[in-house]
């Protein structure tokens, strides 16, 4: 059996027809008028709200300009040929970018509320709002998960981030770290950031970073992430540690498509410090530079293995610290890894 919804509650229909909604204020549906109308008429009203006749003979409302009759004369003869067509008519040019006339503000706020159940309309409107621009979504990106082979070591590295949110406000989770195969994790950090779009291409991000290695340390984070001109993905942040140390980091990478699946990615990373941080063997100034070139093949958009080369150099006093500790201050590495997202 088919349940037939009441398509048109006769009461509401009558309201529409009998009550001059023009006379109603926004917030008061014409209940009383409708009831009166209902009492008067026994049979349900016919549905059409507007006349069916093809050439619409519109109702004239007080204060409205009368429609013009079809042009009775030859316009060429009137010399309109040379008229600028922005200047529309015989001196009655339309109002440019004008607000709607007062009558456009009359009647119910939501026309459907006068016909269908108000609460059903309210929830349908809520749903519509959510469905047309109100969605939230997210992703998890493994930007680099790689092995690095150099003269001195065989190391691994991860660099991942995930986000969830709407168009403007998002929550980010980022983590990166590295270590030696067979050894321990040397560096590991996790960031939780609140992100707000501040322009078409950039987000402002603020939150906390916790280092798990080499020792537990917390930082406040303030950064920007986005797409710079010439299609460089940029992520730059300042970190204020619980020891009061201020450091910074800028990462930038560019995807150059060779073919639709083969992508060459140059990548740069700079680290800075506002002060010497002895326990981390860091000197004030530019502390470290990394440059890499990765060639990846997108088996699917979501999954791309890559190979590449990387160069890493500690700079300035930081390099001196490294040399003093018997480590190399710079070096090349061969890289292989995967980029993936879901």
């Amino acid at each position: 059996m088919m349940r037939r919804l009441v398509a048109l509650p006769p009461l509401a229909m009558l309201l529409m027809l009998a009550a001059p909604l023009a006379a109603q204020s926004h917030d008061h549906p014409p209940d009383k008028a409708g009831e009166k109308a209902k009492a008067k008429e026994g049979k349900p009203a016919a549905p059409p709200l507007t006349p069916m006749a093809a050439p619409v003979v519109p109702l004239r409302l007080p204060g409205m300009p009368q429609p013009e009759a079809p042009p009775p004369v030859d316009h060429k003869a009137m010399g309109h040929g040379a008229m600028d067509h922005g200047d529309m008519d015989h001196g009655t040019a339309p109002a440019e970018d004008a607000p709607p006339p007062a009558r456009a503000m009359s009647g119910p706020r939501h026309a459907a509320d006068a016909i269908w159940a108000k609460d059903a309309m309210a929830s349908a409107r809520q749903q519509l709002k959510k469905e047309n621009g109100g969605m939230s979504t997210g992703m998890f990106l493994i930007e680099r998960l790689e092995a690095r082979v150099s003269d001195s070591a065989e190391a691994f590295l991860w660099d991942v981030q995930g986000w969830y949110g709407g168009d403007i406000h998002r929550v980010f989770l980022k983590s990166e770290g590295e270590g030696e195969f067979g050894g321990t994790v040397e560096d590991a950090e996790v960031q939780v950031l609140f992100s707000r779009a501040i322009g078409p291409f950039f987000d402002l991000q603020a939150g906390a970073r916790v280092d798990l290695e080499p020792e537990t340390r917390s930082h406040l984070v303030l950064g920007v992430q986005g797409l710079a001109p010439y299609m460089w993905h940029v992520d730059g942040a300042l970190f204020l540690s619980d020891q009061g140390d201020l450091t910074g980091r800028i990462e930038a990478e560019h995807d150059q498509k060779i073919t639709q699946q083969l992508i060459l990615q140059p990548r740069m990373e700079l680290e800075l410090s506002a002060q010497d941080i002895a326990e981390r063997a860091v000197g004030a100034g530019l502390t470290k530079i990394e440059a890499g070139l990765r060639l990846r093949y997108e088996i699917r958009r979501e999954f791309a293995p890559y190979v590449g080369v990387g160069y890493e150099a500690k700079l300035g006093q930081t390099a001196d610290f490294a040399r003093a500790a018997g480590e190399g201050a710079s070096g090349f590495a061969l890289l292989a890894g995967i980029r993936a997202w879901f």
Binding site: R4, A22, M52, V56, L59, P70, A124, N132, K257, T259
Partner: protein, 573 residues
């Protein structure tokens, strides 16, 4: 539930072969059984039956669809994709009883129909929607004639097959002039759930685009390439979703399904072309067979003979062809040329026409950036970045925030542009400037003008009007006074073409210079070319609340939607 289909109205002459014949012919040739063997999910019947009369019952339900090597979950109406052809007659009354057998809300919007707003079928605007298990009755008189269609206005159901054609025969019998009358409904099938598509558009960079500008592709100069990348734009950003995800369909048939339209040489064949796709602009052509356009968006226009036309999402064109003996390819090539829908228009049953190969992928130009007036200037330096988003160029009510990545510096009207990729072909192509309404429109001068900016951010996949997505303007509709005559200028501040649709009305395209033109074509959907403007005159004579949106489904879903209110309701005379 028992369904009663009223017997068809008496058919006139050879029009007995109407509309669904082609689809049925092809369906009969398919080995697929009508219903699935295992499981409860129905297999979709491709093509459609014809429903007529004053009482029409339709049921929406989940289904399984397959074409070529692709298959997946779909939504079908009465088990068909497209759903049944609803064939009505001007002047009749109709009651459409729509039952929702899905486990989510659904709806049907009657695209292009003039009707009381409460039966327009947009949940949250015209009515509350149809709950699972419920039947809703749409009831209205038929006040017009022509080719239209219907589709779900709930969520992303339209992408899954919830659409169908609707034809209204004219009172005056003018439809009888043709020997055959066929529907050509264009759409897409994807095995990917539309919510997954939406998410990939939001998070993945050009996920479905396999023809992006690369180092090894295209003939752009280095300077031009630097300019585009300097602006963080890609000149191959043509279709957000395309062949990697889509199989293009004609009447529900993919290229592998060998759809046939039969004719006898010498016959005048009317093709009612409907773009019922979610995201695809199609280039329609029948190589070596000229097409005479007789209707646009269901409204009669003066005959225009063309060799090809581009049809935006939600538009319709009726064309008449008189093909010579043989098999001709009916080609619906996606605008980004990643794939095509194809059928055979043949006088020899079973003869398949040879499909042409896909043409070269088009590339966007300066005009698509809104710099049509600046062609030839030196822009190789990239120092022009600031001028691509100059807030002074838009009215103050346009919110130039993160959702707006560009403001067209010098947008011009491109009513004479035949569509991306068709400006360089060497045959006749339809342009909006070719369209002349057959009937005379009432002579009304606009009382005011308004400007609406089409805005977006490609990178974040945000789409909006005036920089504000629907979520942020639900309480601030676009207001018109009843019977007000308004000139509406749409300015496209993005590099994509948007098919903009106003419910419940026809507007007249301002496609010429004559301010007294009474033959401006009447349309319900207008393509606004990238970086360009398009203007229409609207007499707001249908009171109520109406949806106004981009008909690219995922653009609407991202927020490119508004509500238009027309007040007050007229008093009963």
């Amino acid at each position: 539930m028992s369904r009663i289909i009223k017997p068809s109205m008496p058919t006139v002459s050879r029009r007995g072969l109407i509309a669904s014949t082609a689809a049925l012919a092809a369906a009969a040739a398919l080995p697929t059984p009508a219903w699935a063997k295992g499981g409860s999910m129905r297999h979709v019947k491709k093509g459609f039956g014809t429903y007529t009369g004053e009482d029409i019952n339709l049921a929406i339900a989940g289904a399984h669809y397959a074409t070529g090597g692709r298959s997946g979950h779909a939504i079908a109406v009465d088990g068909m994709i497209p759903g049944p052809l609803i064939k009505l007659r001007e002047g009749q009354d109709v009651r459409l009883n729509v039952t929702n057998n899905l486990d989510e809300d659904s709806s049907i919007h009657w695209h292009g129909l003039l009707l009381p707003f409460q039966f327009d079928g947009v949940p949250g605007v015209s009515f509350p929607g149809i709950k699972p298990g419920e039947t809703f009755t749409y009831e209205f008189p038929i006040r017009q004639a022509g080719t239209y269609w219907w589709h779900s206005h709930s969520g992303l159901q339209e992408q899954m097959g919830h659409y169908g054609p609707l034809v209204i025969e004219a009172k005056d019998g003018s439809d009888d002039r043709f020997d055959r009358d066929y529907i050509v409904l264009l759409s897409e099938f994807t095995p990917i759930h539309p919510h997954a598509i939406m998410r990939k558009l939001k998070v993945g960079e050009h996920y479905f685009n396999n023809s992006m500008m690369t180092a090894t592709e295209g003939d752009m100069s280095g300077g031009e390439r630097r300019m585009w990348s300097g602006m963080r734009m890609n000149p191959r950003d043509i279709a957000d979703v395309s062949a990697p995800a889509y199989t293009y369909l004609i009447n529900g048939h993919g290229p592998a399904d060998d759809l046939e339209y039969l004719f006898t040489p010498g016959e005048k064949v009317r093709l009612r072309i409907i773009n019922g796709s979610a995201m695809t602009f199609f280039n329609m052509r029948i190589p070596r067979v000229p097409m005479t356009v007789i209707q646009a968006d269901g409204q009669d226009v003066e005959d225009v003979e063309v060799d090809e036309l581009q049809i935006g999402v939600a538009e319709t064109y009726d064309v008449v062809v008189t093909p010579p003996d043989g098999s001709h390819a009916l080609v619906a090539e996606a605008m980004d040329r990643s794939g095509m829908g194809i059928a055979s228009l043949t006088s020899h049953k079973g003869h398949k026409a040879v499909a042409p190969s896909l043409r070269e992928v088009p590339t966007l130009t300066m005009a698509d950036m809104g710099m049509a007036g600046m062609e030839g200037m030196d822009h190789g330096s990239g120092g022009m970045d600031h001028s691509m988003r100059d807030k002074n160029l838009v009215p103050s009510d346009v919110e130039v925030g993160p959702g707006v990545d560009m403001i067209a510096p010098m947008p011009v009207d491109r009513m004479d542009f035949p569509g991306l990729g068709l400006d360089t072909v060497d045959h006749r192509v339809l342009r909006y400037t070719d369209l002349r309404s057959k009937a005379m429109n009432p002579h009304r001068m606009p009382e005011r003008t308004i400007q609406i900016h089409l805005t977006g951010n490609m990178e974040r996949y945000m789409w909006s009007f005036d920089g504000k997505n629907f979520t942020s303007v639900t309480d601030d509709p676009i207001r018109f006074g009843f019977d007000e005559r308004v000139r509406v200028k749409l300015v496209n501040d993005t590099m994509m073409a948007h098919p903009i649709h106003l419910h419940g009305h026809f507007f007249e395209l301002v496609n010429g210079d004559n301010p007294h033109d009474m033959h401006q074509p009447r349309k319900h959907t207008v393509i606004v070319q990238p970086g360009s403007s398009a203007t229409f005159d609207l007499t707001a004579d249908e009171p109520g609340d109406w949806a106004f949106h981009c008909h690219l489904l995922y653009h609407m879903h991202a927020g490119m939607m508004q509500v238009v209110t027309v007040r007050p309701f007229p008093q009963e005379a």
